[in-house]
Each structure stands twice: as C-alpha cells, then as structure tokens.
C-alpha cells in the first residue's frame, strides 16, 4: 500500500466532507435526542445520516476485515461489502441470501453450487462475478494473519477444485461431505470483495454503502451506494449516509449517545446498559441467541487433577450461573450449559441444564481426592464481562474447597503468546456466534491447541458424521457428540452474553440486518 497516495486521497476526502460536517458538529451541548444531519425526504424511510459508535483499536484499525478483529472493522466491512447470506431461522433454507439466489447441494454432499443474483455490480459499475465470490472465500486462507473464521471455508471446501461455470455460478467441492454448508457460508461473516482487492480506500465495493473517508482510530464516513439492492427491499439502503465512530470505552460510547454526539452506541457494558435503560430518551436492545457470545473457562487436561472426570464435573457444578447473569449482566444474559452456540440449528437444546450444586461438587472433589487443590484462573479484559465473570467464578471455586486465585492479564495479553496460553491450567476464553459443529471442528476437535488437551477422535467422528448427513441422522450424531461434551468436556460455559446497543428512538431496522452482533445498517432507517 502506498502511504502517500492514500494520504492524498484522505485529504481530498476531507475537503469534500468539511462543508457537510459543519452543521451537526457545531453545538452538541444542548442537543438531547441527537439531531442527525439534513435528510431529504424521498419517501417515509429514506434519508438521513446515522452516527454510530463502536469499539475500535486506534491505529490498528484496518479496512481489511480478514485481519481486523475489532467491532469497528467488522461493522465497517458489513456496511461496505455485500454478504453472501445471513442466518435466518424463519427462512426455508435457514438462511437469508444476500448476493446469492440459491445454494444447491449435491445429493451426495460432495459439492455446493452457489448461484449469484443477476446484474450485481460493484460501486464502480464493474460486474460482481463468481470469481469475486471465490476469491473472497479463498484468499484469507493464505494469510497467516487472517482471523480464524476466514480460514474456515478452506477447512471445509476444496478451493483447488472449485469451478467457475459462468459469471453467476460457482461450484465448490467439499473436502469431506458436509450437509450444513449453507449455514456455514451464510453465517454473516462472509462478504464479497472484488477479486485481488488490496482494501485501499478507493477500492470498489459491493455493499450498501461506499467509503468516503477513513481515519483509523477516529472513524469513517460512508454514503449510500446507489448500485446496491436487496432482493426483498427495493429502496434499501434507506440511509443516505453512515458515520461510524471509533470510541474504545463502553462508558464513553454511552456518554456520546446521551450527549447527543451520536445516534447509536454499540456493545455496551452491562452497567452502562443498565443505566441507560432507566432513561426514556433512548431505546436499549440486546441481541438474542444465536447472536450471543459465550464466556467460558477451559480446564487444561495436561493439568493432573483435571484428568479426573469427577473434578471436571465438580468445576462445572460449582458455577453459580444465575448469580453471574444477575450481578454481572443485570439479568440480561443467557445461562450456559457448558456447550457452545445456543440458538444455532445444530445446538442440542434437549440436553438437560446443568444445575448449580456446590454440595455435590464438594463431594465429587473429595471423592477424587482433589479438595484443597490450588488452581489459578487466567483471564483478561478481552470482552466486557469476562473479568467480572471470572472473578465470581473464582469465588464459586473457593466455596467448594478449591484454593482458587485469579490472574488477570492486561488487555490484549491473554492470547498474545499462544503457546503460553495453551499451557495455562485454567484459562478464560470467549466465543463469537458460530454454528456449534463447525465451531467444534474449527477450535476444539482434532487436537486443536486451543482445546487445552481435548483429544477425542470418537467425538470428532460423531461431529463429522453429523455434518456429513442430514435430517434425523445428523441430529442424532450431533446430539451424541454434544452429550459427550456435556458429560466429559473440559469446558465450563456458564454464561452467554448478548451484544447490547442503545439508540435514539428514531433509529429502526438495525436488527433486520440479521447479523445482530455486527450490524451493517443495510435496512436501518431514521425518522
């Protein structure tokens, strides 16, 4: 990337926007509801510029969402690039397609055929073709810096055997037969970028908005992409503009909202959300399962006491899940059942909820000869609530006779030295919303180092069987796999927390974008 060229571009961008900015920027002191910029009225919903704030990462923010892990990067990407599809339990295929018309699955599950909607274009008018889709799915696998979720397609599909049949048709052979490929490809993370894109600010994009300006650590300004269309909503996107601001602190995001500086605040810490709930000038909403993020603790099986099933069960029974939900999240979270991905179609809801039973936990621990064992739980402030939940869990462990201590690492440090992380005896982690079985294969099965010693080929086989079949057969294998995980797994998943946002009352349709945790605002309107 040529820094000089990019800076020039940014500067010319500055001039173009300076005039438009003077209005709303002038006096925020008296504004209470947040007066958005001028909005020409075409119909009831069109118009307006939404100002929204997200967690960013200063200079580390990037337009390349394959490597940029912050909410800011992901939301910007969702606004700039069209999605393949999003999970929609009400839709016939379980997903709502974006640029795709359909995904057809070969009867033997050996290949997926992706068909694009006709006449799709990028913001520069060039056609959006099957080659772009293929590149968008394939290219992150070659870059070690890519986020794990973007390497996942390559773990399921054989890209070297991919065929572009025509501009609108892409055939992806599977590496092993899988039945849940639609769910996998249309989980909302996979977006279409132009083949060979370098993610510089001038690159043509396919999404509801186009980039006018990008200042890492400060924000970006986007305007409506007139070339974009949704199959089921003709005049979307409704917004004329989108101003995405980077505000690191949850409290500061709420303060900017109450001060009228923004219209929408993303990912609020529980206390902040609780305070805003009492204020009728704002609407607070939380995502629901499956768009919830799991906070969990993993017991390292290399650590002697954890090899005993009874100790692991005792550690699971010790967690006072309801107390965590109540006191950390003010009730706005879901009790976890030591399994990942509640709310996704492949999750096994029929497994009974693990109770809070400190007495039995104490008994089990004593039977295993492990009472009084000492353990350090390592955590870090990687996502709101993580340290808080860990702090309470350590107290729970002390209750059952474990000499537990909490070791909180500074922000950004927990996963920084991964080999060191994989050696921790008891480590905190969190999950982003991902279907249960692909998540297992991606980060748990097959002796993955992040599984801290979990090595069960039988469960791996059950999961592969569940993904490689459909209907009752698949459900049965999936249930069996999760039953083993529930009984013998080394993960305590006590809480799944929603992404909580707050907005001024005129903002509507954010959730219609479906990918609840990182809204792209394609169907959002202001009134």
């Amino acid at each position: 990337m040529d820094p000089i060229g990019r800076r020039t571009l940014l500067r010319t961008g500055l001039l173009a926007v300076a005039g438009a900015m003077a209005g709303p920027a002038l006096l925020t002191a008296c504004g209470t509801g947040g007066e958005p910029a001028a909005r020409p009225q075409q119909d009831g919903r069109r118009g307006g510029t939404l100002r929204a704030a997200f967690t960013g990462a200063g200079a580390a923010e990037t337009l390349n969402h394959f490597t940029g892990g912050t909410a800011m990067d992901m939301v910007r990407a969702r606004a700039l690039h069209a999605t393949l599809g999003d999970i929609d339990p009400t839709a016939p295929d379980g997903v709502r397609y974006g640029v795709l018309d359909t995904i057809e699955i070969a009867t033997d599950l050996s290949a997926y055929t992706l068909r694009l909607r006709p006449k799709l274009t990028f913001s520069d008018g060039s056609p959006l073709t099957a080659a772009d889709v293929l590149w968008s799915l394939m290219s992150p696998a070659d870059n070690p810096a890519s986020l794990p979720v973007y390497k996942n397609p390559a773990a399921n599909f054989d890209f070297s055997g991919a065929r572009i049949e025509d501009d609108r048709t892409l055939v992806l052979p599977t590496l092993t037969p899988i039945a849940d490929g639609r769910l996998l490809l249309c989980q909302g993370n996979y977006l279409v970028v132009k083949e060979g894109s370098d993610f510089s600010p001038g690159t043509p994009t396919s999404g509801p908005f186009t980039l006018q300006e990008f200042e890492p650590g400060v924000g970006s300004l986007l305007t409506r992409n007139d070339a974009f269309s949704l199959p089921d909503a003709d005049d979307a996107p409704y917004l004329d503009g989108l101003e995405l601001r980077s505000i690191a602190d949850s409290d500061a995001r709420a303060a900017a909202l109450t001060g009228g500086q923004i219209d929408f605040a993303h990912d609020l810490a529980p206390v902040t959300a609780q305070t805003l709930r009492g204020d009728d000038r704002f609407t607070v909403s939380s995502t629901e399962a499956p768009y919830v993020s799991g906070l969990f603790f993993r017991m390292n099986l290399a650590h002697e006491p954890f090899r005993d099933d009874r100790v692991r069960t005792a550690f699971k029974l010790a967690a006072d899940r309801q107390a965590m939900v109540d006191s950390v999240f003010f009730g706005d979270a879901v009790v976890g059942n030591d399994l990942m991905s509640p709310g996704f179609p492949d999750y096994a809801p029929e497994i009974e909820q693990r109770p809070f039973d400190p007495d039995r936990a104490r008994r089990l621990l004593r039977e295993a000869g492990a009472d009084g064992m000492s353990i350090a739980l390592t955590t870090g402030p990687e996502t709101p609530g993580m340290v808080e939940v860990a702090t309470l869990y350590v107290e729970n462990l002390k209750e059952i006779g474990v000499d537990a201590t909490l070791d909180e690492l500074p922000a950004g440090q927990l996963f920084a030295d991964y080999p060191a992380y994989a050696r921790l005896p008891l480590a905190a982690s969190f999950s982003v919303p991902t279907p249960a079985l692909p998540l297992y294969q991606m980060s748990y099965g097959g002796q993955n180092p992040s599984a801290l010693g979990w090595d069960r080929p039988d469960v791996d086989a059950l999961v592969a069987e569940a993904r490689g079949s459909s209907g009752a057969e698949s459900a049965e294998a999936g249930l069996a796999a999760q039953q083993v995980l529930w009984e013998e797994g080394n993960t305590i998943a006590p809480v799944f927390k929603p992404f909580t946002t707050a907005a001024v009352p005129g903002v509507s349709g954010v959730a219609d974008d479906l990918f609840g945790q990182f809204p792209g605002f394609s169907r959002t309107s202001l009134s």
């Binding site: 990337m1 820094p3 800076r7 961008g13 500055l14 926007v17 300076a18 900015m21 003077a22 920027a25 002038l26 006096l27 925020t28 002191a29 209470t32 990462a57 200063g58 200079a59 580390a60 923010e61 990037t62 490597t67 070690p144 810096a145 890519s146 794990p148 300006e213 200042e215 890492p216 650590g217 400060v218 924000g219 970006s220 300004l221 601001r245 505000i247 690191a248 602190d249 500061a252 995001r253 303060a255 900017a256 109450t258 001060g259 500086q261 923004i262 500074p410 922000a411 950004g412 440090q413 996963f415 920084a416 030295d417 991964y418 080999p419 060191a420 992380y421 980060s443 180092p449 992040s450």
Partner: protein
Amino acid sequence: MNRWAFWLRRLVAGAVALVALSLLIFGATELLPGDAVSAVAGPTATEEERAAVRERLGLDRDAATRYLEWAGGALRGDLGTGYLGARPVTEVVGARLPHSLLLAALALAVTVPVAVVAGLAAGMRAGGPVDHAVSAGTLLVAGLPEFVLATLLLWALAAGPGLLPQVSMVPLGGSPLDAPEILVLPVATLAVSGIAVATRLIRARTADIAATPYIEAARLRGVTGPRLALRHVLPNALGPAVQALGMVTGALVGGAVVVETVFGYPGIGRELQEAVAYRDVPLVQGIALVLCAIALAVLLLTDLLARALDPRSGGAR
C-alpha cells in the same frame, strides 16, 4: 562563553540524550515476553506460519542489528510500520501529533498568563493574604492526580449538567478546532494542573528576588505595586519562569496520555496507550521516540530563551 559554542554544546548534549533515550526505549520494549509474532500471525497460526512472520518482521535477527536498523531508519524519517494496522508509524504520528500539540499549546496559552500573574502577586508579598490564597489553592490542585482532576471536571461540567460534551469527538475529516467545545475539558484539565505547578515555581522565584536588596532599594524609592512587579521583579524572574514553563510543557506532552484517555481525544497520547494495550511494539517505540525528541527540543528552546531573557547573562555579553 561564545554564543555559538553554547548552542553547539546544548545541541550535542541533546543529541547524546536522544540516543541514550532511544536505547532505553528500544531496550524496555525488548523485554516483552514471547514476541510480537502472535499479535501478527494470529492465535491459530502454525509453527511454520509463525516462523515466516518472524522472518518477514525481521525478528529472527539479533537485537543490536535491529536497533541499528531502527535508529538508522528514524534518522531518515522512517519509524517502521505498526504490526496491527500495518500503517507507517510516521503516518500515525503525523495524524495524531498535531491534535496533541494543539492541546498543549492551548493549555500553555492559558497557563502562562495565569501562572505569571498569580505567581508574581503571591511572591511579591510572601506571607501575605494573596500568597496564602494562591499557595493553598496550588497546593490543593497539585495534590490532585491528573486523572482525578479530569474525572471531577467531567462530572462537574459534562456528565451532570450537560454543559460540555463528555467525549472529545473530533469531526470526521475536520480538525478539533471545528468543534471547539470538545477542547474545553482536556485543555482545562491540563491547564489547571499546569498552573498549579508553574505558579509555585514562579512564586518561589519571585519571593527570592523580591527579598533582594535591589528590590528593597526600588521599594525605598517609592516604586510599588504592579510597577515594581513588572519593571523590576519580572525581568529577573523571567528566565527561571521560562525554564519552569518548559518543564510544564514537557509534562503536558506526557500528561496528555491521561487526559486524552479520559476524554477520548484522538491525540498521540491515546494512540500510545492503545499501542501499549495492543503490544504494537514499532508504534510504541516510534511514538515514544518522537515524544522524547519533542521534550528535548522544548528543553533546549526554553534554555536558550531563558538565557536570552536573563538580564545578567545579557549584560555579561
């Protein structure tokens, strides 16, 4: 001493100090356990991928080589590239530093007149009621850590009554001056603590000078009040005062970290704090080096200014 020799010696001392500080900066960040590879390669990278990244970043070479390369680059105006955003460090500094300098300049513009007036007023009548009031006030404020002061101001002026924005959001594509209200609280915080320190320094110097026979003589001639302060004390106090303010300026550059973090102001201090949080070593090193260079330049400037303003050294030449 020859004026040029003085300049030269100061410059050489500054350069030597900068080299020493650059070693300190490089050494301190080298202590990082593990290495930066994980930050770049991502948690799930294989050992081969990690090795490739290590080689690409040049981390497989020894520390001395890397230091020389870094320092050499810095001399050519190239501070390397941040690990995470892959942006040139100079670009980040170029974008953020002006915002911080603006804060420091505004804070100084408030601090100087207030500190000079208060310091003079208190020092001229040491032990008098004005001195008591000023000394008590500055003592109280000097006792407030900057982050407490910032938090208190935030509450008193923004969060409660809503008079000012709580978050210093710079208009996109604009400068902080396009939204002057966002500057009030950060500048106020820096100025208040700056005033406390500078006033105490100036007061002490003024009190020393006011007690000299020279000033006693002027008093006996009937020169009193502001005229005595401005005509006779101030010129003598100016040199040390400038030096004191130089120290305050240096502190402003560092103190900006706290203030920018509390108010979310996009300056170099907050960028540094984020770089520290994300362990972006090249960014931390680059920003630290630039801040050190600025602090040294300020010291050099104030030294020269103090010398030029000091009536004694002026007379000697």
